[in-house]
Subunit: 146 residues, 2 copies
DNA sequence: GGTTGATGTAACTGTTGTTGTTACGATTCG
DNA sequence: CGAATCGTAACAACAACAGTTACATCAACC
């Protein structure tokens, strides 16, 4: 299994959408969670859980019943890594104090808003960088380096 | 007694160093982990563990024995949030696949380096943003808003 | 040289998040 | 109706984190 500390949900979600995009480009109607799971090397339920979040964000759609599966809601070139990040990541990168600091102390009283402002700037920069890459770019680079 | 997903280690470490800086500016020699823990509202061992990492990074020093405690290795204005981040955060923000993807598949074979390059750009942007704020800035803003 | 007060660190607990897995109901095409 | 797939709950295994207790170690000071 695993053992790292960072989140791989953005990676798996981007991989799944990119796979669907290539599959559709090759003329197929829908992609199943099992096909995607084979490419990602994980369990189909993991894929379905992630794609459910992406559907909620308006990036993917699903059909049920026989001949069911997943489709993209938009072209790969209209989906940025920021879109995927926002759909899939629960919270901000940095958190403030686990327990409220001492309000009798100047630092304890005042540092949370100051650090929070700095963290806001970091999140803004991170989002701007993620917005620079579309899944169309990702697929193009994958095919170029193949 | 918590409940969030993100890391608060950067917050606690920055708080501790800022507290030491103000305490020294007021004429005291050393700060104890118990004093700092009171301001942060946590256990002294948590502070000692974090300060040990900061000492390893050359940001703080400690004395043992009677009259022991912690001092800054540099002025607050010479310590950026990036310095603290690097001292205290273990890994990158985003991880690649938990298990190696399918090498029979074009996407599975090629997407990891492409996403990795995008993640490198994100880390670079994140670091640049953290480097823009020093703990001197933090203390100045805390005192200004007091 | 012993007392004292703080660091250094190991060990353990409770909680949370993540990934993977099984199971099964719901849905829809043919 | 039957088959295939989604939708989702439930659970296990694992790691990370915060907090806590405990105790050895060290150095200043009387």
């Amino acid at each position: 299994m695993d053992g790292m500390g960072a989140n791989s949900r953005l990676t798996v979600a981007a991989h799944a959408l990119t796979w669907i995009g290539l599959y559709q480009r090759r003329g197929h109607e829908v992609a199943t969670s099992e096909q995607i799971a084979t490419s990602v090397n994980t369990n189909p339920v993991v894929i379905r859980r992630l794609l459910a979040q992406l559907r909620k964000a308006g990036l993917a759609d699903s059909r049920r019943g026989a001949g069911a599966g997943w489709t993209l809601s938009r072209d790969l070139s209209a989906i940025t890594l920021l879109d995927v990040y926002e759909a899939v990541e629960p919270g901000p990168v940095f958190a403030l104090h686990p327990a409220p600091p001492d309000r009798e102390c100047i630092v304890g009283r005042g540092i949370a808003p100051v650090l929070g402002a700095a963290y806001d700037g970091v999140e803004t920069a991170l989002r701007a960088e993620l917005a620079r890459t579309t899944l169309g770019d990702v697929l193009r680079d994958v095919l170029r380096d193949a």
